[in-house]
C-alpha cells in the first residue's frame, strides 16, 4: 500500500505524521519504506536519522550542439516551447534552467547536430533507519525542476507492504508528481482559516487525479487562548473537542463540517501539544516521547490498515 502524505498548506505536520507513522508501523513488524518526495526541502532524515549506504546523482538530459555540424537554421529554437534554446549570430545559446529536457530540439535538428549530456540536478540517497527502508531526493540549490527529482525518488521505492511518501506542500506540479499512483492521499491539515482553505484546494487537486483521500486533523484545539506561564500545557484527554468545556472559538468544528459535507473521513485528530512541537524542534520522533501522540498515531495506522476511507 502506498500512502502519500500531503497538505496544501505548509507546516501542518506532513513530516511529523509521515515519519511517526513509519516508526509505529515498523514497530508493528511491517515492512515499511519511507520516501521523502519533498526534494526541495527534505526533512525526514532529521527525524528518522537513517544510515545512508547508496548515493547517486539525479540527472536531467541537456542538449549540446556540435557547431561543426550546425548550420544555424534555427529549427531548434522554433520548436522549443520553453525559450530554452536560441540561435543568434552563428551561436546557439542554451538556457539550462529553462530546459525541460523534452528532447524536441534533438528531433527537430535536420543536421543531427544536437545530442544530450546529463546534467546533475540533485542527489538520490538510500539507506535504512532501523527496520525502515529510507529513500530521499535532494534537489540542488538553484534548480527549478523538482518533478524530475521526485520521479527518481518514486522509481527507487522498493515494493514493500507499506510505502509512506512524504510530499511537498502546495497543490501544483511537485505535489501532483508525488501523489500520482498512490493508493491513498492522506491530507494533513490544521484547524485554522489557512489550513482549511488550503485543504479545500488540496482536496480538489486530489479529486482531479481521481485518487482516494482522507484527512488528518493536526493541532486540534489550537484556537484556545495561551496558558499563563507556569501552568501545565493543555492536554485534552479525549480525542474530540468539547464545546461545553469552552473550547471555542475553535476552528476544528469547521474542518469537521467541511469533511462531513465532502464525505471525507477524518482518520485522526492529533492534539495540539507544545511537547510534540518541542520534540519536533529537537529532531525527535514525538511518538517516542509523547504517549498521547503515540496513541493517536497508532489509531491512525489501525484505521489505515482497516481501509477506513471513503
Amino acid at each position: 500500500m502506498k500512502i502519500a502524505v500531503a497538505s496544501g498548506k505548509g507546516g501542518t505536520g506532513k513530516t511529523t505524521v509521515a515519519t511517526n507513522l513509519a516508526r509505529v508501523a515498523a514497530a508493528g513488524a511491517r515492512a515499511v519504506a519511507y520516501l521523502d518526495c519533498d526534494v526541495e526541502e527534505p526533512n525526514g532524515h532529521l527525524f528518522l536519522k537513517p544510515t545512508i549506504d547508496r548515493r547517486r546523482s539525479i540527472d536531467k538530459p541537456l542538449p549540446i550542439v556540435d557547431l561543426r555540424r550546425c548550420t544555424f537554421c534555427g529549427r531548434c529554437s522554433q520548436v522549443c516551447r520553453y525559450g530554452a534554446i536560441a540561435c543568434v549570430n552563428k551561436q546557439v545559446l542554451i538556457f539550462t534552467e529553462l530546459c525541460h529536457s523534452c528532447g524536441g530540439c534533438l528531433l527537430a535538428c535536420p543536421m543531427d547536430a544536437i545530442r544530450e549530456v546529463p546534467k546533475t540536478i540533485g542527489e538520490l540517497r538510500q539507506g535504512i533507519a532501523g527496520p525502515i527502508r529510507f529513500i530521499e531526493g535532494r534537489l540542488n540549490i538553484g534548480e527549478a525542476m523538482s518533478p524530475r527529482a521526485i520521479r527518481a525518488v518514486k522509481d527507487a521505492g522498493p515494493s514493500v507492504e507499506l510505502s509512506i511518501l512524504d510530499c511537498p506542500p502546495g497543490t501544483s506540479c511537485p505535489v501532483i508528481e508525488s501523489v500520482r499512483g498512490s493508493d491513498l492521499v492522506l491530507l494533513v491539515t490544521e484547524p485554522t482559516p489557512f489550513g482549511l482553505h488550503d485543504l479545500k484546494l488540496a482536496v480538489e487537486m486530489v479529486r482531479v487525479l481521481r485518487l482516494p483521500l482522507a484527512v488528518v486533523l493536526n493541532r486540534c484545539h489550537v484556537g484556545k487562548p495561551d496558558e499563563k506561564r507556569g501552568q501545565s500545557p493543555f492536554v485534552q484527554s479525549t480525542l474530540r473537542a468539547n464545546p461545553a468545556k469552552g473550547d471555542c472559538p475553535l476552528f476544528s468544528d469547521q474542518v469537521r463540517q467541511y469533511c462531513i459535507s465532502q464525505d471525507i473521513a477524518i482518520l485522526a485528530e492529533i492534539t495540539d501539544d507544545r511537547s510534540v512541537a518541542e520534540a519536533y524542534s529537537r529532531g525527535q520522533l514525538a511518538c517516542d516521547v509523547v504517549p498521547l501522540f503515540a496513541g493517536q498515531i497508532r489509531l491512525l495506522l489501525e484505521r489505515l490498515s482497516n481501509g477506513a476511507t471513503r
Partner: protein, 315 residues
C-alpha cells in the same frame, strides 16, 4: 521602489502572518501574494476586487480520439509519461491514446510528430489574478487553477502587476508573500527583489531549510534579514540559526515568541498587530522598526524574467 519578499524554505513557519502584520504597520503599500498555489493572504484582508483577469498558461496537448490511429508514436516520444493507451475507440482502433493533462508539461513534441495531426495544442486558462483594495493598501493576488502548472510564470505576473500598481498609485513599497521550497515559484519570487525576509522557526528542519533558502538568495544576489518565529520553542537552535545567518551576512530583525495569539488572530481574520498588543504583536512591531531602517539601504527591485539566466554556450 523597494520590494520585500518574505520567504522561509520550510512551510508553516509564519510567512503569511508576518507579512500581513508588516504590511499593516508599513501603512499604504502594495501586498503581493506570490504563494499562488496555496494563497492565504486574502483570508486576512478580505480584499475588495477592483480588477480580475485570466492567466493564460502554456498549452497542453490533447488527442482528438476521432483522428487517432493508435500508432503509439506520441507515447514513445513523450518524456513525461503523460500518454496513456486508454482513450475511447473509433472506427480504426478499439483503443486510442490519451494525454493525461496533469502530467503534460506542454513541450509539444507529440503535436509536432503526430502523422495524423490528431493532437491539439491550445493555450488554456490556468488561473486568475486580481488587483484589490485591502486594509493595508492595495493587494495583488492570484489563484492557480486546480492541478495547473506554470506557477512560476504566474508568480512573475503577480510581482510585475504589483510593481505597476505601486507605480501608478505612487506607493514606494511592495511586500511579497513567498511560497515554501526552493524550486520554480520561489526562484520566481526572489529574483531581482530588494530584500528577502527569512521567517525561520527554531527546529531541526527550520534551520536545515533556512540554510538552503539562504544559499539560493545569495546565488540570486538578494540581501536578507532574519526573523526567528516561535523563538522560545528551542532556544539552542534559535542561537544556531543566528550564527548561521551571520555566516551568510544576514542580520537578525527580531524574534517572535511561540504563542497561540498568532493563530487566534488568524481565526479572527486579523493581523497579529490588529488583533492584540500581546508579546507577539510587540515583537513584530520591533521587527518592522528594524526592517524599515534596513530597507533604506537596499537597492530598488528589478524583475526581468522568470529566472536569472546564465546563458551557457554550447561547444
Amino acid at each position: 521602489m523597494k520590494e520585500l519578499v518574505v520567504i522561509s524554505g520550510k512551510g508553516g513557519t509564519g510567512k503569511t502572518s508576518v507579512v500581513a502584520a508588516l504590511a499593516t504597520l508599513a501603512g499604504p503599500c502594495v501586498l503581493a501574494d506570490c504563494d499562488v498555489d496555496a494563497a492565504d493572504l486574502h483570508l486576512i484582508f478580505e480584499p475588495k476586487l477592483i480588477r480580475c483577469a485570466d492567466f493564460i498558461g502554456g498549452a497542453k496537448a490533447r488527442i482528438k480520439p476521432e483522428y487517432c490511429n493508435a500508432c503509439g508514436k506520441c507515447e514513445k516520444l513523450c518524456r513525461f509519461d503523460a500518454v496513456y493507451h486508454d482513450g475511447p475507440g473509433n472506427g480504426r482502433t478499439p483503443r486510442t491514446f490519451r494525454i493525461e493533462t496533469t502530467a503534460c508539461e506542454g513541450c509539444g513534441v507529440c503535436v509536432d510528430y503526430c502523422d495524423e495531426n490528431a493532437i491539439e495544442f491550445a493555450p488554456g486558462v490556468c488561473g486568475q489574478w486580481f488587483v484589490s483594495e485591502a486594509r493595508c493598501g492595495l493587494m495583488v493576488h492570484a489563484k492557480l487553477g486546480i492541478a495547473a502548472e506554470n506557477s512560476g510564470k504566474l508568480v512573475t505576473l503577480v510581482r510585475q502587476t504589483a510593481q505597476e500598481v505601486a507605480y501608478q498609485h505612487g506607493l514606494e513599497l511592495v511586500f511579497c508573500d513567498g511560497s515554501p521550497g526552493i524550486g520554480c515559484p520561489v526562484i520566481a519570487s526572489l529574483t531581482g527583489a530588494s530584500l528577502a525576509l527569512f521567517v525561520v522557526e527554531p527546529t531541526v528542519s527550520g534551520i536545515h531549510d533556512f540554510c538552503r533558502i539562504a544559499q539560493l538568495a545569495a546565488r540570486l544576489d538578494v540581501p536578507g534579514l532574519l526573523v526567528i518565529n516561535k523563538a522560545d520553542l528551542n532556544e539552542k537552535i534559535a542561537e544556531e540559526i543566528e550564527t548561521t545567518a551571520v555566516k551568510h551576512g544576514i542580520l537578525l530583525a527580531g524574534k517572535i515568541p511561540y504563542l497561540r495569539e498568532v493563530t487566534r488572530a488568524q481565526i479572527a481574520r486579523k493581523t497579529v498587530v490588529e488583533f492584540s498588543d500581546g508579546p507577539a504583536a510587540q515583537a513584530i512591531r520591533a521587527v518592522w522598526a528594524k526592517t524599515e531602517k534596513h530597507l533604506q539601504s537596499v537597492a530598488a527591485s528589478t524583475i526581468d524574467g522568470l529566472v536569472q539566466i546564465q546563458p551557457s554556450l554550447s561547444s
